[in-house]
């Protein structure tokens, strides 16, 4: 069995290397056998359902005003640097963890801004964890190593588009495979309809693109049917059939072929998902989310999860997002409303999974381009690196902090200038903890997160499993 497992792992690597299994000639024999083995093994263990939901805060959420120092010394240091962009004490909702912070963080206390009261409720219920100072790293990195460039650093730090990509896919803009998509590659065989393995309700996102798994992109109104391929079209009863042929015919080059293929996927997915959603609960959004895009996105996720049996889904990855966090200006005006949306949307979603009786099987987490500077640029903050994030779900070991909070202030070893945080936990570790819960084996973890082997642990402990 040990040998079999090893072979399995190798075959998975091969599978992931050969996109869409286009060609495994030469080694087809053993690999084909082993692939069959994977399917059989998966079938045996696929009695449950799990979903991971990434909520990405585009533009880079200011973490300093999200998980806010609350103990007097830290708060004083915070207001001392932030000056006019600091939140006032009266606006803070202090958090009480089940276990007080220890070690370098002993005595530290933190709070959420009042706009995020809905998340505090979940925290208090033990279903939300806070991940401190997480960000892209290739290896564990000290400030000296950063300054001396003596270890490899993530490419294009502080650049929005690149760090969005690094966060989602361990590589800058141009990356084609994200860690959500790689998990999909490993899990797709458990799903009856592969198309619904990785889903974005927020347009293109590399996070949900795998090597073999294509992200299905749908809108906040659910799947969209193409009206002209059914029924009468401009007075012709047969034109709709021709229309189907025309829009799904690939033409003579790779662009037209890709366009046709996406169209075919649109048609197929719509047929299946529309039918499934027809009987799904409505899960109406509360009034405070009536105009919220991210709320509407999470509603679609909830309804798809409710349809999981009809869709034959066992493992699903979802991507939703909210933009507008690049608060170089007017931060105190802009950010609170966005934070309220995030908190209310996550709470709505979590409560919906509770109502479905599936909260233990659904985990949502936040991501963002990067953190922001601690310093003020007048009325906003600039591009940073490490940030704090939330994990919400029934399987979360919540009401606890994970990782290490930085020293509050400037000119220390936790920051690389203007209070830009040097991450103490890598996104890979954060992701691996989620992936492990999702079902990725330890031996497959480096397929999902190529640099995970550079870190001492791949399980930060915030997930029950």
């Amino acid at each position: 069995m040990k040998n079999f497992n090893k072979e399995t792992s190798q075959s998975r690597r091969a599978f992931l290397r050969t996109a869409s299994s286009l060609s495994i000639a030469g080694t087809a024999g053993p690999f084909a056998l082993n692939l069959a083995g994977i399917g059989a093994a998966a079938a045996q263990t696929a009695g449950d359902y799990r979903a991971l939901v990434c909520l990405f805060m585009y533009g880079a959420n200011d973490h300093n005003n999200t998980v806010i120092p609350y103990d007097p010394a830290s708060y004083a240091a915070y207001t001392g640097v932030r000056a006019n962009i600091a939140r006032t004490m009266a606006d803070l909702l202090p958090l009480t963890p089940t276990t007080a912070l220890t070690g370098p963080n002993a005595g530290r206390q933190f709070a959420l801004p009042k706009e995020m009261s809905a998340l505090k409720t979940i925290w208090d219920g033990g279903k939300m964890a806070i991940m401190a100072n997480v960000g892209p790293l290739i290896v564990p990195t000290t400030k000296a190593q950063y300054t001396n460039l003596s270890v490899p650093l993530p490419p294009k730090l502080f650049s929005h588009n690149d760090q969005q990509s690094v966060w989602q896919a361990s590589a800058p803009e141009g990356a084609k495979i994200g860690w959500g998509g790689r998990m999909g590659d490993l899990m797709v065989s458990q799903n009856a309809n592969s198309v619904f393995t990785c889903n974005s309700i927020s347009g293109s996102a590399v996070f949900v693109s795998g090597q073999a798994t294509v992200a299905y992109q749908l809108g906040t109104s659910g799947p969209t049917a193409i009206s002209s391929i059914t029924g009468s079209l401009f007075g012709s009863s047969t034109a709709s059939g021709t229309m189907t042929t025309l829009i799904t015919s690939g033409g003579n080059n790779v662009f037209t072929q890709d366009l046709a293929e996406t169209t075919q996927r649109s048609i197929d997915a719509n047929a299946k998902l529309s039918a499934a959603l027809a009987t799904a609960p409505d899960f109406p959004l509360p009034a405070e989310l009536a105009t919220s895009s991210v709320g509407a996105q999470l509603r679609v996720v909830a309804r798809m999860i409710a349809s999981r049996s009809q869709l034959g889904a066992k493992r699903q990855v979802f991507f939703v997002s909210l933009g507008g966090f690049d608060t170089h200006d007017d931060q105190l005006t802009t950010q609170p409303g966005l934070q309220a949306q995030i908190a209310n949307a996550l709470a709505y979603f979590y409560n919906t999974t509770v109502a479905m009786g599936i909260a233990d099987q659904v985990t949502a987490f936040t991501g963002s381009d990067f953190g922001r500077t601690l310093t003020s640029n007048g009325d906003g903050s600039d591009h940073g690196w490490g940030s704090h994030h939330f994990v919400v779900g029934g399987a979360v070991l919540g009401q606890r902090y994970y990782g290490t909070f930085p020293v509050m202030g400037l000119n220390n070893n936790d920051e690389v200038g203007s209070g830009r945080l040097l991450p103490t936990t890598s996104v890979d570790q954060f992701a691996a903890t989620l992936a492990r819960w999702f079902g990725v084996s330890a031996s497959d973890m480096s397929l999902v997160l190529p640099n995970i082997g550079n870190f001492s642990t791949s399980n930060l402990g915030f997930m029950n499993s």
Binding site: A83, A225, S228, T242, V254, D258, N270, G378, H383
Partner: protein, 851 residues
């Protein structure tokens, strides 16, 4: 009554009686095209000094059924006006005139002669002066015909040449000094005035020859000996290029000329016989016809090309120097504009690419700010103004601006120099964004350094990338300057992240790694340079810097930002190898100038910006050589000037890689942006706004609209990234980028198709009285609706430059043919055919990928 001379030696034939014109109810598929005067496109630009060439058939698409033929020899012009008399009977009038400038005025003649069925030689014309007529050139491919006939004085405007063959086979005619017998014997295009010769005059055929088709107006006499006409439509014998056979058609009744206000009824068109042209050479032939209703069987008459004795003659051929095929012109216009109108295709076909670009460079800019301001002035002073008027103006100028190249490049620049209305700017500054897009349009034909300067000082960019009100560092509070603009002006607006070779490839260091163009220290230092800028106004007070101040400058949102020395950093600034020493006196504008000069002169700008402009207009994946050629022009326009945008645009559009005819499987090209597709529809089908302002707002919803709206990108990173590679794709598998595919997905594909179905069918925009404001004018397409092949060919030319594969074309033609044109509502049926042809074409991957 004197007969006309020269060309009007059409006269003199014998008359007799014959059976009345008999109606033959057999409607040929091309009947509609026939009753429409099928015409040629071969005009030259009116402004040129040489003799003008307006040879061909001219018609008014909205009044299909009558027309004007023009034959020319130099400025000497012979026209035949084919129309209907007060009783609706077909009648012709000749017009002999000489062009002087843009007008050609003369007397109109009609007459009597030998009835058609009895003509064997001369028709014995007795010419009768019927009035006066004037042809006036009113624009490229546009004429008007003014006349006074029988007490009726009218002017028919906007006559246009009609193309009935494949447009790239439309002949071009030019004046040539060919004299003497047989001088034109070698010609293989038969477009001209053909007659029986001096001894058999009084009748003739005005032939138009396009590709393998001929169409002719046959002017003769009815059984009562009155001037009348029939039309001929024939096809070339595949085995004998000099032989054409086809049918003879009659329109009866027509609409009396003085009351024509629409197309002639379909039911008036009948087939009355068959004919054959057999040309012995380019000058002589026989005309054979059988007209059962006229008791004429297999009559043959000799015909010859008409010539003014001793004069130069107009020679028509299917090619001329610098001419461009219609498909190539259409393809070019899809790159250079939001998409071609038929008149644009004509213009490029005739002038060639380079002259067309020159013409575009000379056109006045169609602006957004004036109409936006005019509209705002009509609103209550305290109303919420927003961007409504700007959105309208965007669609209007994109769709109808005469400066089509500038509009297209301005849009491309708006996707690089992004100021998005998907921000608070939209609510507070109703004029600033319009002025910003105008500024991009102005600089589209200017110099890049000025573009960079104007972008940097724009208060809209200042708001969007937050360097407006940016303050110097404060040691006491620890506050540092806002780094937003400093970073993005390098990363996105000028030099990019990595050192580039001129061909756009990465420079590599000794370890084979890319070389960063800047680091975070450069960003922080440059951020200090961009401090101390804020709103324009009569003073530089702290209040004004902060957005207040009195008096308020009502135009601050459209004025460049001004310097406020008290907020500008005076400390040492070192960036990109430039050192600005610490000073005691703030030098805001001087330092911004130093920084912009440094960026402008960075060798990356040519390849970095040049490649993106290629991607916006021509191809997602230009070859390194293409990028290098364009960057080279950016670096030096040939006269030592760096950053000449006109030269860059010309280089992009005229590059061999842009102009090469695509081959099967070739990947040069790009996915058309959804916005461009919609505007393309507006242009191709001459969309008009009932209100006049193009009342259309945003189109951003991917599920129900276009997933994209002009000036509404989600962030400064535009709707899509230039290096976007679609995951799990064949495109990506070949290592190719496809920026537009970043907004192409399962939802947006469906949303686009559904949206266009509605738009094509019912127009788009604000609905008033059940009608959308923006409506296409499908007149020309409707005229072809009885001929699905011709209809699809026209749509294919307009939308894809003839890019549909034969198989796709056949599918669409067959689908269109399934819509029966019934008797209860034939107009609706014909409209359905047009709708379907357009929707299907715009739905195909072959359209969506512009190559």
């Amino acid at each position: 009554m004197a007969t006309t001379t020269n060309a009007c030696d059409i006269a003199r034939s014998t008359a007799s009686n014959s059976a009345p014109f008999e109606k033959i109810r057999t409607l040929m598929r091309k009947a509609a095209a026939l009753c429409a005067f099928v015409l040629l496109a071969m005009t030259a630009l009116p402004a040129q000094a040489q003799a003008q060439d307006y040879v061909g058939f001219w018609w008014k698409p909205t009044e299909s059924g009558w027309g004007l033929t023009i034959q020319q020899q130099g400025n000497s012009t012979f026209g035949v006006w084919f129309t209907y008399d007060a009783q609706g009977a077909a009648i012709w009038h000749t017009l002999t005139c000489t062009f002087s400038g843009s007008t050609c005025a003369g007397d109109l003649y009609t007459g009597t002669g030998t009835p058609l069925a009895q003509i064997t030689g001369s028709a014995n014309l007795v010419a009768i002066k019927s009035g006066t007529g004037t042809i006036t050139v009113t624009g490229t491919n546009r004429l008007s015909l003014a006349y006074t006939v029988g007490g009726v004085t009218q002017t028919k405007t906007n006559l246009e040449p009609q193309n009935f063959g494949t447009a790239d086979q439309v002949p071009f005619c030019s004046l040539q000094s060919l004299t003497g017998a047989g001088a034109r014997a070698a010609l293989t295009n038969y477009t001209d005035h053909w007659w029986g010769g001096a001894a058999a005059s009084g009748w003739g055929v005005q032939i138009s020859h396009q590709g393998n088709q001929v169409f002719a107006g046959w002017y003769s006499y009815n059984p009562q000996g009155k001037a009348s006409w029939l039309t001929l439509q024939g096809t070339q014998d595949p085995n004998n290029a000099r032989r054409f056979t086809g049918s003879v058609y009659q329109v009866n009744p027509g609409i009396p000329f003085s009351t024509i206000n629409g197309p002639v009824a379909q039911s008036s068109i009948t087939t009355v016989g068959t004919f054959e042209f057999n040309f012995a050479d380019g000058e002589n032939g026989t005309f054979t016809y059988t007209l059962p209703g006229f008791s004429v069987v297999n009559r043959s008459l000799a015909i010859q090309r008409f010539a003014i004795a001793g004069g130069a003659v107009n020679v028509c051929s299917v090619s001329k120097a610098n001419a461009v095929s219609a498909n190539d012109a259409s393809r070019f216009l899809s790159q250079a504009t939001f998409g071609p109108r038929m008149s644009d295709i004509d213009a490029v076909s005739q002038s060639g690419y380079s002259a067309w670009i020159d013409g575009q460079f000379a056109k006045a800019q169609t602006l957004h700010l004036p109409p936006v301001t005019a509209y705002l002035n009509t609103l209550p002073i305290d109303s919420q103004k927003g961007q409504t008027a700007f959105q309208w103006s965007i669609w209007k100028n994109f769709a109808t601006g005469d400066d089509a190249l500038r509009q297209r490049v301005a849009f491309a620049l708006s996707e690089i120099y992004v100021v998005s209305l998907n921000s608070n700017i939209a609510f507070s500054y109703p004029r600033g964004p319009a002025n910003y897009l105008d500024m991009l349009g102005t600089n589209a034909f200017g110099n890049f350094r000025t573009l960079l300067e104007n972008v940097t000082y724009s208060p809209m960019m200042g708001l969007y990338l937050s360097h407006l009100k940016n303050q110097k560092e404060n040691a006491a509070t620890g506050a540092t300057p806002d780094e937003n603009y400093a970073r993005e002006v390098m990363q996105l607006l000028t030099i990019g992240l990595y050192e580039l070779n001129q061909d756009g490839s990465l420079k590599l260091d000794a370890q084979g790694k890319p070389i960063d163009t800047y680091n975070n220290a450069d960003v922080s230092a440059l951020a200090k340079v961009f401090t101390g800028l804020s709103w324009a106004g009569p003073d530089t007070s702290n209040n004004r810097f902060g957005g207040g101040g009195s008096p308020v400058d009502a135009n601050k949102e459209i004025k460049p930002m001004q310097a406020y020395s008290q907020y500008h950093s005076t400390s040492l600034k070192q960036f990109l190898g430039v050192t600005i020493p610490a000073t005691t006196v703030a030098n805001t504008n001087g330092e911004v100038g130093i920084a912009l000069d440094r960026l402008f002169n960075h060798p990356n700008v040519g390849p970095f910006i040049g490649k993106q402009l290629i991607q916006r207009l021509v191809s997602s994946n230009p070859s390194p050589a293409y990028v290098s050629r364009v960057a080279g022009v950016f670096n030096n326009n040939g006269s030592g000037v760096r950053g000449d945008m006109k030269a860059v645009i010309r280089a992009i559009l005229l590059d061999p890689e842009a102009r090469a005819t695509p081959t099967a499987g070739a990947t040069t090209g790009k996915v058309r942006e959804p916005i461009v597709r919609l505007v393309h529809w507006m242009r191709a089908f001459n969309a008009r706004s009932a209100d006049g302002k193009f009342l259309l707002g945003t189109t951003s919803d991917p599920a129900t609209q276009l997933a994209q709206s002009p000036m509404y990108s989600p962030s400064v990173f535009n709707f899509f990234r230039p290096g976007y590679i679609p995951p799990n794709s064949r495109v990506g598998g070949q290592g190719l980028a496809s920026p537009e595919m970043q907004i192409t997905n399962e939802t947006s594909i469906a949303g686009y198709l559904n949206y266009m179905r509605g738009v094509i069918n019912a127009g788009v925009g604000t609905r008033t009285g059940g009608v959308n404001d923006i409506q296409a004018d499908y007149t020309a397409e409707l005229a072809l609706s009885t001929n699905p092949g011709a209809l699809v060919d026209r749509v294919n030319l307009l939308l894809t430059g003839g890019n549909l594969s034969p198989g796709t074309r056949t599918l669409i033609v067959n689908a269109v043919s399934t819509i029966n044109i019934g008797t209860s509502n034939p107009n609706a049926d014909m409209r359905n055919r047009v709708n379907l042809a357009i929707l299907m074409t715009m739905a195909t991957p072959e359209y969506l990928f512009q190559n």
